[in-house]
Every structure is written in C-alpha cells, then in structure tokens.
Point group: C2
Chain length 344, copies 2
C-alpha cells in the first residue's frame, strides 16, 4: 500500500464506519471510548493525515485565514503575525502569510491566491491596490493602514471592511512634540512615499506649526527604505550647512530603517548620536532594539494591531451583518539611547 491512506482505510483497519472516523477526528462528544481508541490507533499505524482539500470541499470551510503583508524584509510583520496568531490559534484557525512585494514581482495576485485556497477571512496588512481587495466575498479586515478605507466604503457591496490601524497622524505629532519638549527647534523629518509616511508627515508638520517651528521635510519622493533615509539625511545636512540656523539638532524618520540610514549618514559626517544629533524612528521594529543600535522610536503596537485584526475577523465571521468597525491605536514613544535634550 503505497498511496496516501484515506478514512476508508482507517475505518476498515479500526473495524468501524467511515463516519465514525470523521467524528473522532473532530473529536465529537458522544463516541464510545473503545472505538475512539481503536480509530486513533489505526490513524497512528497508517500514518493517516486528513485531506484538507476534501474536507474544504465537503464542509465549505477551511478554518484558515490569509494574512497579506507588505514585505518579508521589513521585520515589522513579525510582531503583527504573532498578534494575529495569538488569537487565531486558540480559535482553531490556521493562518497563511503572503508577501505582496514578492507576489507582485512574480505577476500574481495574492488575494486571488488566498481566495482560491478558500480562506475563511482575509487580513490585509499592506498597501494593496483597492481593486485587488474589491469584491472578495469573505470577511476582510484592513490592518495597519487607513488609506484604503475611503476607497473601500464605496466598492464593497456587502458591507465595508473592518479596519484597525495605528494613528499615524497622532504618531507624527507625538514624535515632533517629544523632540520639541526636549528643547529641539531645528527638527528635520525624513519621509517617503506611501500612506503611513504621509500621515506621519502631516502630524509632524502640524505639531511644528503649532510650536511656531519651521517644518523641514526631506526625502518625500523616495522609498521608505534605508537608502532614502541616508539620502534624505544628507540633504538635511547640506541644507542646514548653508542655512542660517545650522544643521538640525534632531531628526524624526518615518520608520526605523530610514532612521538607520540617517544614523549612517550622520556618522559619515562625523556627527554623533545623540550627542550632536538626536534620532527618532518609528515602528519599534526589532531593529530598534538591538544593543548596537538602541534607537528611540514610536511604537505603533504592531502585536496588538494583529490581535485586534484577528479578533475582528473572527467577530465578522460570526456576525457577517454587524456594522463595520474601525479602531485606531494610540502610538507611544519608546525611549532608548538615540534621543536626548538639546544642549543649547
């Protein structure tokens, strides 16, 4: 017998019917102990593994949810995923992860992939093109970005998606105010493309304006990656050198990897962090916590974000018609060693 064993094989070997095997698999309540044991033994001996394909087909449910993230290279997703699993695992759901960047690179549509796989719900934690998530016929929750919200409101027929996101506007303000409170006035902001960066930038600009300080934004048209962090920092330095005020005494970067790029540029310029220039990141990614880096940063609570998103998915599966929910998480600054008071 070389082929994969089926319930039939198990049933036969255990001397029971096929349905009984099905029952002990989903450990149903009223099954005679003896038979249950016999079935388990047969499963063991045969190396039987139930076929998900068959069960999905028969039950019209896979008890799985798809999680779409932006980019495996940005460790931000790790905590998000941990949060998602912390609520989905106990509920008996499986989660499968796909990386938008990678899927697009190979010309595929990850949402189609998930749907073909019969996921019972979808959590999108990436900036997916709206048409990609339009018309999915399973519960959809958008995690971590607010940009899709308005677009979705119109296009989803059967109720808009649930949304949980970090309040990036508030985070940007928080960051600027934090630096301002420490006495900094020449605070540069390193930004980039994409909705989260945009919100953070807006928050920063508002807080600077309120304090009567001049907003100094660089790198807006680049990526939110290390290279652009480096470039934008160099620009800030060059601009500061020519300007009356001198170089910035503090820098707020749109995320941690940009901050890391900025730190490299500062070191190359012979400037010390935080003695000469304070650097504040965003995301509280694992990067920021390394002892060699010790980056002060704004925590968007990605783990909690994941957990809330998962809970929303669960709730919606239970009550598809409930009104859509929106939740904004309040960011907080995490002090490490890259920020200090201005010495002026």
């Amino acid at each position: 017998m070389n082929a994969r064993p089926t319930i039939y094989d198990v049933a036969q070997r255990a001397g029971v019917s096929k349905s009984l095997v099905s029952l002990v698999l989903r450990d149903a309540p009223h099954v005679a102990e003896a038979k249950r044991e016999a079935v388990k033994k047969a499963i063991q001996e045969l190396g039987y593994r139930p076929s998900r394909a068959a069960s999905a087909l028969a039950s019209q449910s896979t008890r799985s949810v798809g999680l779409l993230i932006d980019d495996f290279r940005n460790p931000w997703f790790v905590e998000l995923l941990a949060g998602v699993r912390s609520v989905l695992d106990p509920a008996g759901y499986t989660v499968t992860v796909a990386d938008l960047r990678l899927e697009e690179a190979s010309g595929r549509n990850p949402v189609d992939g998930f749907l073909a796989q019969h996921v019972d719900a979808l959590v999108v934690a990436a900036e997916a093109p709206p048409e990609m998530v339009r018309d999915v016929r399973v519960p959809l929750v958008i995690a971590g970005t607010r940009s899709l919200t308005p677009l979705l409101g119109k296009s989803l027929d059967d109720g808009a998606a649930d949304v949980v996101a970090g309040d990036d506007d508030a985070g940007g303000q928080l960051a600027a105010r934090h630096l301002l409170a420490l006495g900094h006035r020449r605070i540069a902001h390193l930004s980039g493309q994409g909705a989260p960066a945009e919100h953070r930038r807006r928050g920063y600009v508002r807080a600077m304006a309120e304090a009567g300080a001049e907003p100094l934004v660089y790198g807006v048209d680049g990526g939110t990656d290390e290279a652009n962090g480096f470039r934008a920092m160099r620009q800030a330095l060059d601009a500061g050198g020519r300007a009356a005020g001198g170089p910035p005494t503090a820098v707020f970067a749109a995320n941690d990897v940009m901050a890391l790029g900025a730190m490299a540029a500062l070191r190359d310029a012979g400037l010390r962090v935080p003695e000469d220039v304070s650097v504040l990141g965003y995301d509280d990614s694992p990067l920021a916590a390394y002892g060699y880096i010790r980056l002060s940063t704004v925590d968007g609570h990605s783990r909690r974000l994941g957990a809330e998103a998962a809970q929303m998915a669960l709730d919606r599966m239970a009550a598809p018609a409930a009104p859509p929910r929106r939740l904004l998480l309040e960011p907080a600054v995490v002090e490490r060693s890259s920020v200090r008071e201005t010495i002026a």
Copy 2:
C-alpha cells in the same frame, strides 16, 4: 446569486460545457478562439476563481511546495525564499512558507500541516526534529543544514532526501584563516547551539590549530542570538583582561546577529570596531549590509541555496527514483568595514 460561482455557472453563462471551461483554465491548445473568449468573459463577469480544493482533490496534485524555515525573525530566510521562488514560480508552482518556531510554539506540526495541504514537495530549511520529517511521502529536500542527513538515510523508506547546504566547516576555516592572514593571533569565536554553529566552530578550531594559535571559544551553550553574542563577547573580554595575551584583536561570530551583539559589547567596553577589534559575522544577512553596521561576514549564498533546493525538488518530482543528490556550497568572505589588519 450570492454563493461562490463554479465552473457550471461559467459554462452556462458562456454557453459551453463544463469541460471546455476546465480546458481554457489550464489553457489547453485546441480551443476555438471564440469560445475561449466567451469563457474568459464569463469568468470575468462572475468573478469566478477556481477552487483549489476541488482541483487538488480531482487531480491529486496542488502544484505547490511547502518551505519550512526556522524563524521569521532571522532575515536569513528572505534570500533563501527568493531563490526558491526564482525557480518554482516559472515552473508554475506556488510556495507556502511556515516558521518552525511559531508552529512549535502553538503546538502544531508544520510538516503535518503541509502534508494535509497536499503540497507536492517539501523543502526543509530548518533544524526540524528527524521524526518530524520521517515518513513524509513526498519529495523532500533538506536545505542549509547537514545535520539531518545521517538520520534520514536510515529512516526514509523510499530513498533518502536530497540535501543542499552551505559548507559550514569550510566556512569556519575560511573565517579563521582570513583573520589569521591579516595578522591576528588572538581570535575569539562566539558560538552557540545547533548544527550550523557546531560545524562553523569545528572549522574555526581546525584552522586555529593548524596555524598554531590557541582556539578561544565562548558562548557554546547559549542561543545563536544577539543576547548570547553580547554575553559571549563580554566573557571573551573578561578572560582576555586576566590572561597574559590581553583581549582578542579579532572576533569571529557564528552568525550576523551574534556579531551585532558583540559589537554592542565592544562599544560598551569602549573598544572601537575595527580599530581596536575586528569583527567577522556569518550569513551575509541584510543586517550586515546596513550602512550603519557594515559588517564583514561570510556569505553562505542563501539565495543560490534556495534555488538549488527548488531545482532538486523539481527534479525529484520528475524522477522519484533517481539517486539522492547532495550538494555543498562553498562559502566566501564578504569584506565590509568591520575587519582590518592587526596593527601589531
């Protein structure tokens, strides 16, 4: 019509038979252009997506392979995955990834999960317990670690697994010789648990012995993480302070994150890299390439590793009875800024 559309719906709408729809889906050669268009149009209008579950069940194949990695937090896997996909995507295969650490944490067996999902092949790039991969009845390739090899030889009935790994022994030797050639003699090695670290350690010890230098190994009983890199570096420093020779002039860490921990310890001790102490990592992970870090490291060619592993999987699916293959990749050192000649 709220339910998910099926081929029947598509066929009806396009005015053709179900089998014709099936044919255009797998774009078969001899189909009338008009009908093909009609079918495509119907698919579009209905938002039809083929059911993987049904097709898996009917065809006994999913055209998917499972990739088991160690830990999403270690960015090592990113390039590995890119390599895997670079050969599997064009071949029309889908790859699904699972993280061993996470699965074990929630008490699941990822291999069972993959098998239940009907993957057509399995690539294991993690130190999975041998019993976990015993008795999988699909093509199996072990990527990146040699430790499972001897165990598997015995336990797999239908031919052992294919294996492709970095030659960690050679890498350890290479690292030590590289530092030796730069004039270093007091070269500490920061190690940890697990097979790769063990091989790297062995290579290091051999090269040191051959050069008549004393092996200085620390951290063997800890993890291969940043914290242990930090701790082991501290121990090396303390030992060097008491010893006749003084502290090491160079450090070789079992991987990049340990090296990063070491760099933190060195800075805390007031030592500069590379002026006072050279630091060499292993893996050439994305971490090492950051401008702020610029870690010299040993490249295990993870992308190529992934590509080779995927090719082996493909080959074995095509020829299940072919003799098992083993491939060892030769590591190379990547020079960045954390290593220099000794000044002695």
